[in-house]
């Protein structure tokens, strides 16, 4: 009897835990944020974008030179 009661209790508790997980369980990259590794990603993207922007600016400048010659 005791065993059955205990197992019922366990069953009840396990469903309780699984429900608890469902309510908060939308997975987000919180670990990446808390460990600060997200900044590595940001740094990479920003560097790539700044590089492309500088590239565009140099094209702009070269074009200006050619326009002046024409």
């Amino acid at each position: 009897m005791k065993k059955i009661l205990l197992s019922f209790l366990m069953l009840f508790l396990s469903t309780f835990f699984s429900f608890a997980q469902q309510t908060t369980g939308v997975e987000m990259a919180d670990q990446m944020r808390s460990s600060g590794k997200i900044y590595v990603v940001i740094a990479t993207i920003v560097i790539v974008f700044i590089g492309l922007a500088i590239y565009l600016f140099t094209i702009d400048r070269r074009l200006k030179k050619i326009e002046r010659e024409n």
Partner: protein, 223 residues
Amino acid sequence: MKFIYQSWWKVLAVVTIIYTLVAGLTFHVPTLPILHETIRNLYFHVPMWMAMLVIFSISVWYSIKYLRTGQEAYDLIAVECVNTGVVFFIFGLVTGMIWAKYTWGEYWSNDPKQNSAAIAFLLYCAYLVLRNSIDEEQRRAKISAVYNIFAFPIMIVLIFILPRLTDSLHPGNGGNPAFGKYDLDSRMRVVLYPAFIAWPLIAVWIATLRYRIRLIENKRNTL
């Protein structure tokens, strides 16, 4: 048209995009099932379409201006705008496909939004092919201007209206709520709206660079 030689708006666009890169990855987003962190794609996928829309609108504007005045420069602006717009079209399609893979399960699930976007893409490819198939300059300019004016509303209908009328997985279509419903707290807007302004500016910048090159080439060819 003096502003295309100025750089303040180019710097503004670059700084704004750097802000959206940083803020887009760090600021708060709603926690939603299926989407998880990919909701941040909103800051980078949707502005591509915004840039495409703005640059195609400019193209139509100058096509109309060309038909009214017959000035060759307007035709050149229209072409280079389409050339740049097509690039952003590809960016939008590819980023959408990647996002779809991780939320809808397939890169291409023949969703109405995807299919009609692909048709609209072919529509603009046809514009570029049409241009290259006509040798005489004035005829080319006139025909492609007329085509461009007709292609634009068809593109709008294909991408933004028809998918709304059927069942689509894409947010904002076929009864699905758009993301406007999720970011009611406005915390996503502080990133999304600057991106909506900055990416079109980048597209305009690239288009003006191409237009200026085209002007020089044109001058050389006529000499």
